[in-house]
């Protein structure tokens, strides 16, 4: 095919591209078999050098046949690679880049609660009255209680436990706020930090980890990270949001528990409660736990409703933990999911991303404002700029 490079815009007046379409130079060609040999050798070499990483990624998939077959494929490859030391260059490279390297086949065998130095929760019955669950009183460095309520039995959405009043922050002594969670936080964390800092009495920071949650600490160990953040940043208030990646199987005592089975619900509730305890170990610290908003996919939305029940139930048993329901905030005109929600001015506003899960910038602002309003009910922010 002839090359064509002459700019045509002098002819037409429009700067359209004239993409080159060269003829293949046969002298530079090689036989397809040789290409296959070189490509296959390259792939095999890459797999051998990268086998630990491939096994790690396979083991971090949701529990099920896909994970099992992937692990079954990569385990012997990784063993062979490690036996002859082919994994070492990758290891050295990761270390040189300052990356943490974990056990490639780690499947959260070690309890995340054990790693964080906080004892596991007990299982008392929560005292529920009129839809409001009265909080059990926790003490410093002492495990608070955790309910055995299964997700289906938890019926306290939006319940509120009364926080201990905190000292009013001032511009000279601002409230340190940490906004932490999974990919949902990616889409509102920065906005919330910005809005919070504009009050003049909050010094906020945010961090998130994509694809993370509480079911798979082998992917990302949030309890360990929360302990680090509490120790290093010592925030006065914390906003946590998890759940979007948590409707998957988890391991309990070496056994895989199906999502939303009784075993699963008990373990997941304990993990949620444990996270709440890690944050509120300090008696001056308060926690806002953000519920999942309404989702487009009905099946996914149903799972998020079940998770929200767990969050609400766990929050209700703890002082200084407030669960914030977000479903009503993002309901469409017909009460179900919609990207376009009517705002106060009566205008349809695009509050969600096209994936039907995450929040748009405007949706992030709405959620941030709701959370700051909730924070304002827990802490006196009246000396801020907005007062």
């Amino acid at each position: 095919m002839p090359a064509s490079n002459a700019p045509a815009d002098h002819r037409t007046g429009f700067p359209g591209g004239e993409p080159r379409l060269d003829a293949t130079d046969r002298r530079r060609g090689v036989a397809a078999g040789r290409v296959l040999a070189a490509g296959a050798f390259g792939l095999v070499l890459a797999i051998a050098l990268n086998a630990q990483q491939l096994l790690r990624e396979a083991s971090q998939k949701p529990f099920g046949w896909e994970r099992d077959s992937s692990v079954a494929v990569w385990e012997p490859v990784e063993s062979a690679s490690s036996a002859v030391g082919l994994h070492l260059p990758r290891l050295w490279a990761d270390e040189a880049l300052g990356r943490t390297v974990t056990d490639p086949a780690g499947t959260q065998a070690a309890s995340d609660r054990a790693t964080s130095g906080i004892p596991a929760s007990a299982d008392p019955d929560p005292e529920a009255t009129g839809g409001i669950v009265l909080a059990e009183t926790g003490t410093d460095n002492e495990a608070s209680t955790s309910p055995t309520t299964s997700p289906s039995a938890a019926t306290v959405p939006g319940s509120v436990s009364e926080p201990a009043p905190a000292a009013a922050p001032t511009p000279d002594n601002p409230l340190r706020l940490a906004v932490i969670g999974d990919s949902m936080v990616r889409f509102f964390g920065d906005t919330m930090v910005s809005l919070a800092n504009q009050t003049g009495v909050i010094d906020a920071a945010t961090e998130h980890q994509l694809s993370s949650g509480l079911t798979r600490p082998d992917f990302y160990d949030w309890p360990a990270r929360i302990v680090e953040v509490m120790a290093t940043d010592d925030p006065d208030a914390v906003v946590l949001m998890y759940g979007g990646n948590d409707a998957q199987a988890l391991v309990v005592d070496g056994q895989i528990a199906r999502p939303f089975s009784d075993t699963w619900a008990g373990e997941y509730s304990a993990r949620v409660g444990h996270m709440m305890d890690l944050v509120t170990t300090d008696p001056d610290r308060i926690l806002i736990w953000v519920g999942q908003p309404i989702m487009r996919d009905p099946d996914f939305d149903h799972k998020m409703v079940e998770l929200n029940k767990i969050y609400a139930a766990e929050a209700a048993t703890r002082e200084r933990v407030r669960y914030v329901d977000t479903r009503d905030l993002f309901r469409g005109p017909d009460g179900g999911f919609s990207r376009y929600v009517i705002d106060e001015a009566g205008q349809r506003t695009d509050v969600r991303l096209t994936d039907g899960v995450h929040l748009s910038t405007i949706g992030g602002k709405w959620l941030s404002q709701l959370l700051l309003d909730e924070l304002g009910e827990m802490v006196d922010l009246s000396s801020g700029a907005g007062s």
Binding site: G39, G42, Y340
Partner: protein
């Protein structure tokens, strides 16, 4: 199925072998290639495979009846076909935008009764394959190409290397290649591997690094960053979107080469352009060519007086912006390009009419022109990247921040951003030299280079790979 994944590597290994084994037998090769493309596309969502197949059938039928018809009826068929393609795009891509804007407009006049929104998920690659389909039926109507056999057309429109993000290949470019029997003894492997590795590096390492280290954070909350960081984030986004999109194109072209097909180039160092006109000869070339041949020229191009020429230029760039997505930001992005292209044309015409010589010496003049062009492109990128008009304005306003340094302008971010821009000015034969060097190696050494490069890219890139930016268009 994303290119930079092991799943695609395994998929392509099988397709490569099947391709060269069956290529001498078109009756076998074509259904197998169509099946491979459907598997590739269905990996995202099997539901949209039916939309793709419906588009194939509809456009082939339109093309067929257009060929069989008289001139007058042929025009009718072509118009109906274009309208149907635009209708598909309209339903999936533009209706909600129109319904929301119209409802809000009516509401502001106190008229309630909102138009329904559909909230359909946007099928991946719909803008690319409907544009290819329209080019086919329009070229048939113009008599520029002959009708393709149904299976040939299906393979062309669904061909997986270019299905989801281009390049926008024309039937006139693919039909001869589908008819030809490429010789399996002459596969341009060095060029193909070079393009694939280069594309992977640009996408997995450069694009992902800049997105996570500065672009996403600053665009999410510009007011929390200093003006210098905001400016750096805009430059970094210019590099990110180029690395992302041209990286995809490089991989697509390389993959097609390994299967015996050659696609048109789509990028030619766009950030070395000295004018916006030059930029559009170098950026997404197959789209600008499409807009010129199927929109600008039919509108009258530059043949109906100066006023109409400027109107057409503006209209095409506005619609080019809207092609990317149904938001005002994309319209403004196209508008900025349209206005500046018009101003450039006006100045050029004035200079030619008056015989005015350049105001600045050539070296300084070129530097100034480059700076102006690059910053106009960057200004437009702010609207392209921002989620809303107010977010874009906030971003531009934050350029004046003299406080709030958030520490994102690290030496590595600065080096990668400006290094990638400087790379656009490298002599254009560097790739040929590398390719020839690679081609002179034995197959074991070539395999070793490929393997080590893949590992290096994986080590340098983040965990997991974000979808390509242009998948959303």
């Amino acid at each position: 199925m994303l290119f930079p994944t092991f799943v695609f590597g395994a998929f392509f290994s099988v397709v490569f072998v099947v391709n060269w084994l069956t290529r001498p037998h078109p009756a076998l090769w074509k259904p197998l290639m169509l099946a491979a493309s459907i598997v590739f596309y269905g990996w995202w969502s099997w539901r949209f495979v039916f939309l793709l197949l419906a588009t194939i059938v509809m456009n082939w039928v339109v093309g067929h009846y257009a060929v069989m018809s008289s001139d007058r009826r042929r025009r009718w068929w072509i118009r109906a076909g274009v309208a149907a393609n635009l209708g598909i795009l309209g339903v999936f891509k533009y209706w909600d935008f129109f319904a929301v804007e119209m409802s809000n407009l009516l509401e502001s006049f106190g008229i309630s009764g909102a138009l329904p929104v559909l909230e359909y998920t946007l099928p991946v690659g719909i803008s690319f394959y409907t544009f290819q389909a329209m080019s086919y039926i329009i070229d048939i109507g113009r008599g520029h190409i002959r009708e393709m056999a149904p299976l040939d057309f299906a393979v062309y429109l669904s061909f997986f290397p270019q299905l989801v993000a281009g390049p926008i290949v024309r039937a006139a470019e693919m039909a001869p290649q589908l008819a030809a029997r490429p010789d399996p003894r002459f596969v341009p492997a060095a060029e193909a591997f070079g393009l694939i590795l280069n594309g992977l590096f640009k996408k997995v390492v450069i694009s992902s690094f800049l997105a996570s280290e500065i672009v996403d954070g600053v665009f999410a909350d510009p007011s929390a960053h200093s003006g210098l960081e905001v400016a750096l984030a805009v430059y970094a986004y210019a590099v990110q979107i180029y690395a992302d999109f041209s990286g995809y194109t490089d991989i697509a072209i390389g993959v097609a080469l390994l299967l015996g097909f050659r696609f048109p180039q789509n990028f030619d160092n766009p950030y070395r352009a000295l004018t916006l006109q030059d930029f559009w000869r170098r950026w997404h070339m197959t789209l600008s060519r499409w807009l010129r041949d199927y929109l600008y020229v039919p509108l009258g191009g530059n043949r109906r007086g100066r006023a109409n020429t400027y109107r057409n230029l503006m209209l095409v760039m506005l619609l080019g912006g809207l092609w990317h997505g149904s938001t005002w930001n994309f319209v403004i992005w196209g508008g900025i390009h349209g206005v500046v292209l018009a101003v450039e044309r006006l100045l050029r015409e004035h200079r030619e009419r008056t015989g005015m010589s350049p105001l600045l010496p050539s070296g300084i003049g070129e530097t100034v022109r480059w700076l102006v062009t690059f910053h106009v492109v960057c200004l437009a990128w702010v609207f392209f990247r921002s989620e809303s008009l107010s977010a874009a304005m906030e971003m531009l306003g934050a350029l004046a921040n003299f406080e709030n340094y958030a520490g994102t302008a690290t030496p590595l971010v600065i080096a990668v951003t400006f290094g990638a821009l400087a790379f656009q000015f490298m002599p254009s034969d560097w790739f040929e030299q590398l390719r020839d060097g690679f081609g002179s190696l034995g197959w074991v050494s070539q395999g070793a280079v490929v393997g080590l490069s893949l590992v290096a890219i994986d080590v340098l890139g983040p965990t997991g790979v974000a979808p390509f930016i242009y998948f959303q268009f």
